[in-house]
């Protein structure tokens, strides 16, 4: 009975996503049943939309910049958290991790107030990137915390004893061992930034990111089948990225000689 319930739950979880390809290949402009026959024209229409390409390029730029910056900040925070004891540690880590439990609308409005009202700066892709770094960093810290915890301090001590200095120990020993964590954190931050809507909606200027562009399309039902086609491709891409992250995380655990306890979060 428990098994039947779990499969029912999985059906509920996957129901919306399984509809994506159904309507992406459906030959009709209305997203509703009954279906009208098979077509690939939404996919070819997608390759011609210039606004869509611009929005995708914006999102990829923001996601790349945000994931690199948040992983750099996450590395520093996770290393400090796992390896050192210092005054005010709990408060400092608490503030860094706070965006994880703060409704995104609060982050979005507070940054909007500061950027527009206090500094009167223009809203650009940079403001979106800066905010995405803020919300991606806690995820990077959470993943890298686990990587640094799995690291045996004796390995670093051995390198120091064998004549390496702190910098070369970090480069030759620590970095390779936490590299899978770094890759996983990059992929997860990239995915979060790519999908983030509300902060981008508040902080974007004249260049929309992909979710902001999709949002504007939701009001024009004529273009929705194209969005279904795009969504199908995005789902496949996310699954690939996540499979890559998971494969890479397991490889990391195997390398550090730790038993797999599972899970991204």
């Amino acid at each position: 009975m428990l098994r039947a319930y779990v499969f029912l739950f999985l059906a509920f979880l996957y129901a919306p996503i399984l509809l994506l390809p159904v309507f992406a290949f459906n030959d009709g402009t209305v997203i509703a049943f009954p279906l009208n026959g098979f077509t690939t024209r939404w996919f070819s229409e997608m390759t011609r939309s210039r606004e869509l390409h611009a929005a995708l390029a914006n999102s990829l730029t923001v996601a790349a910049a945000a994931s690199i910056l948040s992983v750099l900040l996450g590395l520093a925070a996770a290393r400090a958290n796992v390896r050192y004891r210092f005054p005010g540690k709990a408060a400092a880590m608490g503030l860094i991790m706070l965006p994880l439990v703060l409704p995104e609308i609060i982050v979005a409005t507070s940054l909007l107030v500061v950027v527009v009202r206090f500094f009167e700066w223009p809203l650009t892709l940079w403001t979106v990137t800066a905010a995405h770094v803020l919300i991606c960093t806690p995820f990077a810290v959470a993943i890298l915390n686990a990587s640094f915890q799995a690291l045996d301090p004796a390995m670093e001590e051995a390198a120091i004893d064998l004549g390496e200095n702190r910098a070369s120990t970090f480069r030759l020993i620590t970095l390779p061992l936490v590299m899978p964590g770094i890759v996983a954190a990059l992929l997860i931050s990239f995915t979060i930034s790519l999908d983030e809507f509300i902060i981008a909606f508040f902080l974007t200027g004249s260049d929309p990111t992909l979710p902001v562009y999709i949002w504007s399309l939701l009001r024009f039902p004529k273009l929705l089948p194209v969005i279904m086609a795009l969504g199908t491709i995005l789902v496949i891409l996310s699954v690939l990225i996540l499979a890559l992250a998971e494969w890479n995380r397991r490889r990391g655990l195997a390398r550090a000689g730790v038993k797999d306890t599972g899970g991204f979060l």
């Binding site: 739950f9 400090a80 050192y84 609308i105 409005t109 909007l112 107030v113 699954v239």
Partner: protein, 285 residues
Amino acid sequence: MTQDSRRGLALVAPPLGYAVALLAGPLLAIFLFSFWTQDYLTIDRTPTLGNYREALSDPIYRTIMLRSLWISATVTIVTVILAFPVAYYVSFRIRPDRKSFWLFLITIPFWTSYLLRIFLWKVILGYNGVMNSGLIGLRIIDEPLTALLYNANAVIITLSHAFAPFAILPIFVALEKIDRALLEAGRDLGESAATTFLRVTLPLAMPGVVAALLIVFIPTVGDYVTPAQVGGSGGQMIANMIQTQFLGLNNAPMGATLAVIAMVLVTIISLATVWLARRLAGGRT
């Protein structure tokens, strides 16, 4: 100061500085803003409690605030109750080497575009939607149901779907930590499977359940997209009102006030939940 703490501080300085500049600073700014007033385009910086008085007395704000809390509380309870058996199944019935595959399976839907997932719920619940065509096809109903979409129920269904993995993961982690020998001990001492579950498994899983409650409740109170897309006029929540104040009505101080009130209420309810859970656990946590 020891060398250890100096190195730690030097390392934590960049991420901490970033969080202070882009989080603590802006939160302080929004707090200040909530005491100011706006007349058309000019901001009056004389501090006043007028916004708070208006936000707490005007029935429009009060209704929407209470509705947000009610919807979030319902979503939280529904999600956690639905999630518990799934977490239990993965933790107790799945072979250890297959567990990460199952977690992967559960988290995939969460990593696909949030906007598209919500839009697809509109397709499922809509007038010509999957649900209505299915029910008519099975001859359960004759006319499409209109009560499925554009109300608070649609918001609850959509949010419960979106936050399911957030509830499953912390409960799973708590269940994984339970020493299986304790369950055998319970059975050996004469408990049935059901009473072992109630008296051993459930209390030990409580930290995970409380974490799940908070992880679902806190972000759903501030959700903007779901109520905007599937809520209709009767399902709008506080984030929609905050957005209207900032971008539509151009009354930023009122938007800031509502944001501060929402944050304070969420904090109080979260702390109360933790306190209550500790009391119920009899200080054993």
